[in-house]
Amino acid sequence: MERTAVRRRLSWQVATVADVRRETATARTIVLDVPEWPGHLAGQHLDVRLTADDGYRASRSYSIASAWSGGQIELTVEEVEDGEVSPYLVEVLKPGDPLELRGPVGGWFVWRPEQEGPVQLIGGGSGVVPLRAILRAHAEAASTTPVRLLYSVRRPTSVIYVDDLKELASSDHVDVRLVYTREAPDGEPRVGRIDAELIDQLAFTPADEPTTYVCGPTPFVEAVADLLVAAGHDPARVRTERFGPTGGPQ
């Protein structure tokens, strides 16, 4: 079991947007200055709260996209059609704006550099966000732990962190594979979802005793987790994080 530290009570605080970066047509990375950020583990998330002029509040949970090395933190938000929170974060929020948040939270879907064994990351769509934080933490720690990322996207223009993933993949210890479900770039013959054959070819085997992190929409996570268990992986070593249009707790 993970360490569970007694901690101070979390309270809402106001961060300031330092920068925004467009990742895809529907996703944006928001760089934040957070005055009282205690640091976080790769894979943790935070809650964002918006308050309307009439006092109506909506909050959502977002994975942190960056590793902690002091200074700023990054969120990457995918716009949910008719969403209450994400359209504002993706289309409206600009540098200098305040943003209310609390965190970090979540002690299960996390990777620590001192953790033993290889790391298998499997992300669908913006489910790659906490996996990118794990890759960044791996790079920051100059870890020699072997890491593989399988990243399922609809088409080449859906890829978040294109340049960053290229840089991360240049490490001898990191392997990044993109899986295209609708449309592949030239030279990539395979179009289709992650299946048993692909897991067999590209993922660590049960004998490697990896810790596997799967993040994406609920149907993606369940399909991949089922494939892993069918391939002989210990369910206790498969950590999952689902997200959906309902977002986090209100």
Binding site: M1, E2, R3, T4, A5, V6, R7, R9, L10, H45, L46, D47, S59, S61, R102, G103, V105, G106, G107, W108, F109, T218, R239, T240, E241, R242, F243, G244, P245, T246, G247, G248, P249, Q250
Partner: protein, 86 residues
């Protein structure tokens, strides 16, 4: 079908109530006896309040309902929560 998330998404809300991170705790379902990490439970947010269900038998494990003045925490679906001693 109602969509659900998982126990990870309850971390912020539960931090308002508990002094330790419940999402990394092991839970035992009072319905079927299955044990697992709270983060892997099924979380429904479109009910009044927040409801966590057992991934094995769909039994309600935990409910949290917040009104303007009070928060109700219903833990009757859990036989136990297992946490490391701090």
């Amino acid at each position: 079908m109602t969509t659900y998330l998982d126990g990870n998404a309850a971390a912020g809300k539960l931090s308002e109530i508990f002094a330790v991170d419940i999402t990394a705790a092991v839970t035992r379902c009072d319905g079927c006896g299955q044990t697992g990490v709270f983060a892997e439970t099924r979380l429904y947010l479109d009910a009044p309040g927040m409801v966590a269900r057992c991934p094995g038998c769909d039994h309600v494990l935990l409910r949290v309902v917040t009104t303007s003045s009070e928060t109700y925490v219903d833990l009757r679906g859990l036989t136990y929560l297992r946490l490391p001693t701090p």
